[in-house]
């Protein structure tokens, strides 16, 4: 209980909320790392997933990629990215560069898989009907499959974003910023209150990220009561965090 009071005290000390190493700056760094990486991951994974899903081929590749993504520990990816930077661009090796590469690699698999599955699970008859009505392949993809797959795609982005926010904490291990700094610096100076406060802040940030994306996900749900759509949505809801 001693620690609990210490942590509360640490978090409410005003000097910890200002200056270059203050909480707002660290939160900003943390979010910057996460937003840049997840943005890049979306820019790559969503178009690829849409096309592969539309072609309804290369399923094996998409699934194996997702499984491989899960098998490689985030800690290992980060350290390997750091190693790579040290060999290639030593001056950029501390912090931002390798962390963005690692977070990118970690958030691509859930976004790619969910986009792919979302598009692929759009009812084949519906797609056939759209083609019959004279929609081009491009229209089918962008005006039918994309909106129907949107909730599942957002679920993938959400998983990727939460993973990124969680893993951005480890950036401090390779000399980067973010909330992990409090944890690592606190470890080195034996400041338990600082360590635990850092962890509490990371936890809060992750939960807020998850919550924000839950709202976005709800917003992109197509407003229709047709049965096919209902099926897709149920799948989206079910598979959320597990994907």
């Amino acid at each position: 209980m001693h620690t609990f009071v210490d942590v509360l005290h640490w978090l409410t000390t005003s000097s910890h909320w200002s200056g270059s190493g203050g909480i707002p700056i660290r939160v900003g760094e943390h979010l910057e790392l996460s937003v840049v990486s997840v943005g890049l991951a979306c820019a790559v994974a969503i178009p690829v997933g849409l096309v592969v899903g539309h072609l309804r081929r290369y399923e094996f590749l998409a699934v194996s990629f997702a499984n491989l993504g899960r098998a490689v520990p985030s800690f290992a990816i980060l350290v390997l990215a750091y190693l790579l930077f040290l060999q290639l661009w030593p001056s950029l090796a501390f912090g931002f560069g390798p962390t963005v590469v690692a977070l990118f690699l970690l958030s691509v698999p859930p976004i790619l898989t969910n986009t792919y599955v979302g598009v692929q699970s759009v009812d084949a008859d519906t797609v056939e009907a759209a083609r019959g009505m004279g929609m081009t392949e491009r229209d089918v993809l962008l005006r039918l499959e994309l909106p129907l797959a949107a909730p599942l795609i957002m679920a993938g982005v959400r998983t990727g974003a939460v993973t990124a926010v969680a893993t951005a904490t480890l950036a401090a291990l390779i000399g980067g910023g973010g909330l992990g700094r409090f944890i690592i610096d606190g470890f080195h100076t034996n400041d338990v209150a600082m360590v635990v406060s850092g962890a509490v802040l990371v936890a809060i940030l992750s939960i807020l990220t998850e919550g924000a994306f839950a709202l976005v996900e709800r917003a992109v749900r197509p407003r229709t009561s047709s049965r096919q759509t209902g099926g897709t949505l149920a799948a989206g809801r079910r598979s959320r965090a597990v994907a």
Binding site: H2, T3, E59, F60, A62, V63, N67, L68, R70, A71, V72, P73, S74, F75, A76, V79, L80, Y82, L83, Q87, T113, N114, Y116, V117, Q120, S121, L152, V162, V165, A166, T167, T169, L170, L173, I174, G180, I183, F187, V192, V195, V196, G198, A199, V200, V202, A203, S206, I207, E210, A235, R238, S239, A241, V242, A243
Partner: protein, 236 residues
């Protein structure tokens, strides 16, 4: 390039540290098996309760979802003042991570059992208990096994993070290598933990095939029982 490759891995170091590699490998496996085992013990009854009484599913899913969202490193660190640098700290963090995956997949599996199949079993005089153990659970097994596979693979990855609190199995090599700028150790830890995850996944997939032979034979009568058979569905 060749010079770089030579520096990247010092095989003499690898061969002279066989004992240590083995003991950390075993620690990694132990941490994973205990975490998923305890996770199953906790999540199995919860999933069955949530399946029987649907209104309980939301709070259970919400709470385990919260645990799942908290980053592992944060959870390990928050537990430090309470349980210290110990196996308990590592295991609490690892177990709490498996719960959402296991409960969700079990509930999805159980609720996917077709109503008419259950009706037929009741008509044949199955009690609620027999229905669960002899009809619902066997039919939910593919989904449950998919959950166990995801839980095992993610736990193997998370164990490496527990290196920060000194109980990281193979992750210990990654952390030490990082602190001493020794590439061999980093690569060794990374490669072995990925290999372990892939091997465990393949082994569980094999076990699933043996346990549910009907899911492979296909045929019009058995196929509707397993709606998640479609490859690529995210829960698999």
């Amino acid at each position: 390039m060749i010079a770089l490759a030579d520096e990247l891995i010092r095989w003499d170091w690898v061969f002279s540290h066989g004992q240590e590699i083995w003991s950390r490998f075993v620690q990694h496996v132990e941490l994973t098996v205990i975490a998923v085992g305890v996770g199953l013990l906790i999540s199995f009854p919860l999933a069955i309760v949530a399946h029987r009484h649907r209104f309980l599913y939301t709070p259970i899913a919400w709470f385990t979802g919260l645990l799942y969202t908290i980053p592992s490193i944060a959870l390990f660190v928050i537990l430090l003042p309470i349980t210290g640098l110990s196996y308990t700290t590592a295991e609490i963090g690892l177990v709490s991570y498996t719960l959402l995956i296991l409960i969700r997949n079990t509930v999805v599996g159980l609720s996917g059992v077709p109503e008419d199949v259950k009706e037929a079993a009741r008509g044949m005089g199955y009690t609620q208990r027999e229905l669960l153990w002899r009809v619902e659970l066997p039919l939910a097994l593919p989904a449950i096994m998919a959950g166990i596979r995801i839980a095992v693979v993610s736990t193997i990855g998370l164990v490496t993070v527990a290196a920060l609190i000194g109980r990281g199995g193979l992750g210990q090599f990654i952390l030490e290598g990082l602190q001493t700028f020794f590439n061999t150790e980093i690569l060794l830890g990374a490669v072995l933990s990925v290999a372990l995850a892939l091997a465990a996944d393949a082994a569980l997939l094999g076990a699933q095939r043996v346990l549910t032979p009907w899911s492979r034979t296909g045929g019009p009568r058995t196929r509707p029982f397993i709606p998640w058979k479609k490859p690529g569905f995210p829960i698999g």
